[in-house]
């Protein structure tokens, strides 16, 4: 908060905190948690077919699957931001009567098994779906088994992460800045664009990263709603699943690729994941 620190500007100097070592009731389970997370990854690294890796990576099928995965996850995240942020704003800032119901709806994809989500998407947007049938008969548009379907399936399962993160940040942010903006003559849209959104930008980024990560790893909804066809709908997770049957080595290699790509991107954005909330 501005102005309350007076003329003295030294208050921005950091405190020296005592670096406490973790008490053993916390350290023990923490170590277990780390081991639990590390061991499967270690298994991947140990059993990876390092010698045949370059050849596998050169396989156009692998490159196709990776390209498709990265593209669809990014598109899904963009779509989630576009429609999810406004929804988060509605949930946080308005007093609509159906808000609790709306909030439950938003968290539904989190608890729904992904395959069930995929079936539901079919029933909505499939050729005989409640909306899909009109898309098909009026515009000749079919969505299942297309890359669009991949993006939609990934958006469906990953968007809740973004919405929940952004809604939390909006609730925590100070409404008075928006009042100040209004007093300066800014319309509500301008206020949202130039004050509200910038103040929760870190959370939007954090939510988008979570969303992207979830979308990248999506399998059940994708394979059910979008199907499996190399180049169009065969994302990396699906490619791994298929490869597992015939060539476990290839499956491991694909998993490694996905792992490395994910780690690189998530590490680049690691600060944004942890720090959420308005600009301090």
């Amino acid at each position: 908060m501005t102005g309350l620190r007076g003329p003295d500007r030294l208050s921005s100097a950091p405190h020296r905190t005592r670096r406490a070592s973790a008490p053993w009731p916390l350290a023990g389970p923490a170590v277990l948690a780390v081991a639990f997370l590390l061991l499967p990854l270690a298994g991947l690294l140990v059993r990876a077919p390092w010698r045949s890796l370059p050849a596998l990576l050169g396989d156009p099928l692998v490159r196709e699957a990776l390209r498709l995965s990265l593209l669809s996850a990014s598109l899904a995240t963009a779509l989630a931001v576009l429609v999810g942020v406004p929804l988060a704003w509605v949930l946080a800032r308005t007093r609509l009567p159906g808000r609790p119901l709306l909030r439950a709806l938003v968290t539904l994809p989190l608890v729904l098994p992904p395959v069930v989500g995929g079936v539901a998407l079919l029933l909505a947007f499939g050729r005989r779906g409640i909306v899909g049938r009109y898309l098909d008969s009026w515009f000749g548009i079919t969505i299942p088994f297309t890359t669009t379907a991949v993006v939609l399936a990934e958006t469906f399962v990953a968007m809740p992460f973004l919405i929940i993160t952004v809604e939390g940040a909006l609730r925590a942010s100070d409404v008075r800045y928006e009042e100040a903006s209004a007093s300066l003559g800014a319309s509500r849209w301008t206020t949202f664009r130039r004050v509200t959104l910038p103040l929760v930008a870190p959370s939007v980024t954090a939510g988008a990263v979570l969303c992207w990560a979830r979308a990248l790893g999506e399998f059940g909804a994708t394979i059910t709603f979008a199907g499996n066809f190399p180049g169009t709908t065969q994302t990396m997770p699906i490619a791994v699943y298929i490869a597992l049957e015939t060539d476990p080595g290839a499956a491991i290699a694909l998993s490694l690729v996905l792992l490395v790509v994910s780690i690189v991107i998530l590490t680049a954005l690691r600060d944004r994941i942890v720090r959420s909330g308005p600009v301090s």
Partner: protein
């Protein structure tokens, strides 16, 4: 000398609003160039009043008019949103946008109006210069000192040449040193601002310095208004009396003799009659250890010391009696007399020291108690 461009619109407000428990019921008017201070204790409804004028709080009833524009009219169902009111607000915590530089903060309103960035920044820079923080234009609010932030907030509001300026405790967040110098600056800017300005504060000195007219707000109602000096000279409520630091009594006067409501009689020099207030400065009260020998002061009575307190460079002695009174004496005198609680003392006051003024009927409704609250 007006800041050119501000429309010369007068404020005429009749505000009825509900504020957590009590009702705000205020008639407020201000002409262009006038600075009205709304003074009151915390919880009196000052901020709510300001927020209704700003359009951030809906009226329960009433009307707010600025010049020939109607901002609020409850019976007619009119409510203009804050962004269309063309008012400027300086908030208590300044509320400078933390993600924008000081320059962009000031330019914000101009850009919201559609001005191009360069032109907006130019105007913003001029105003930052005017308030004296042009060297901090590129800094972000967290890097500004309290005084600098206050000035940026003022510039941000004034750059838009609003029709009405509202200031919510503009100096409250500052330490004493900064407050002193900024008060003078603020007075200067308010003088050069052409429209009406409403300053809300709980600081009596601030109100006295900044205001052309003072309105005292207590529990949602205006209990006294007038020129600052007049209000200070003739307080009408215990709160104002305590702010100004005088003893205040109510009573019935008959030809100079005032029978006080709480007991006791005082002789005043003026020959007023009827229901009156009597104001007595603590420094005009003399204390004696013994019953004083007859002398010129016409008022003498006795009481028991209930407390002593250091106030500035004086000692304020609280005495119960008929009437109770606060007396200011020097520390040396207090020491010499060896005053302590439960001691009996005698007070003498010259009749000419009493300020007696009639209680006007419509001003008597607010809680006007006797004496000076601790």
């Amino acid at each position: 000398m007006t800041a050119g461009g501000a429309a010369e619109a007068a404020l005429d407000a009749r505000v009825l609003a509900r504020q957590g428990g009590f009702q705000l019921d205020v008639a407020l008017a201000a002409v262009p160039g006038e600075v009205v201070a709304v003074l009151g204790p915390n919880g009196a409804g000052k901020s709510t009043l300001l927020r209704t004028l700003a359009g951030l709080v809906r009226l329960a009833d009433g009307r707010i008019r600025l010049g020939d524009r109607v901002l609020d009219d409850v019976p007619a169902g009119v409510h203009i949103a804050p962004e269309h009111r063309r008012i400027g607000v300086v908030f208590q915590d300044y509320l400078l946008f933390p993600h924008l530089t000081a320059l962009d903060n000031v330019a914000y309103g101009l850009r919201a109006r559609g001005l191009r960035r360069t032109a907006a920044r130019q105007s913003a820079r001029r105003w930052l210069d005017r308030v004296g923080v042009s060297d901090r234009a590129g800094s972000r609010p967290p890097q500004l000192s309290g005084g600098e932030a206050q000035r940026v907030a003022l510039a941000r509001a004034l750059v838009l040449q609003p029709d009405l300026l509202l200031l919510d405790e503009p100096l409250a967040a500052l330490d004493a040193g900064a407050r002193l110098s900024l008060r003078t600056d603020l007075r200067r800017h308010l003088t050069s601002y052409g429209g009406p300005a409403i300053v809300v504060t709980h600081d009596a000195v601030e109100a006295m310095v900044l205001a052309d007219r003072l309105m005292v707000l207590e529990r949602g109602r205006i209990v006294q208004q007038g020129a600052p000096a007049e209000v200070a000279r003739h307080p009408r409520t215990g709160y104002v009396a305590s702010l100004v630091g005088v003893n205040l009594y109510r009573g019935i006067a008959r030809d100079g003799h005032v029978a006080l409501d709480g007991g006791g009689t005082l002789l005043a020099a003026e020959h007023t009659s009827g229901p009156v207030y009597v104001a007595l400065r603590p420094s005009a009260v003399a204390l004696h250890r013994q019953p004083p020998t007859p002398g010129s002061p016409r008022n003498t009575w006795t009481g028991t010391i209930s407390g002593l307190e250091a106030v500035g460079d004086r000692v304020r002695v609280a005495v119960t009696g008929s009437p109770p009174v606060f007396a200011d004496i020097t520390p040396a005198a207090a020491a010499e007399l060896g005053l302590a609680a439960t001691d009996q003392v005698w007070m003498t006051v010259k009749a000419s020291e009493l300020v007696v003024y009639p209680i006007t009927p419509d001003q008597g409704s607010a809680a006007a108690d006797q004496g000076v609250p601790p």
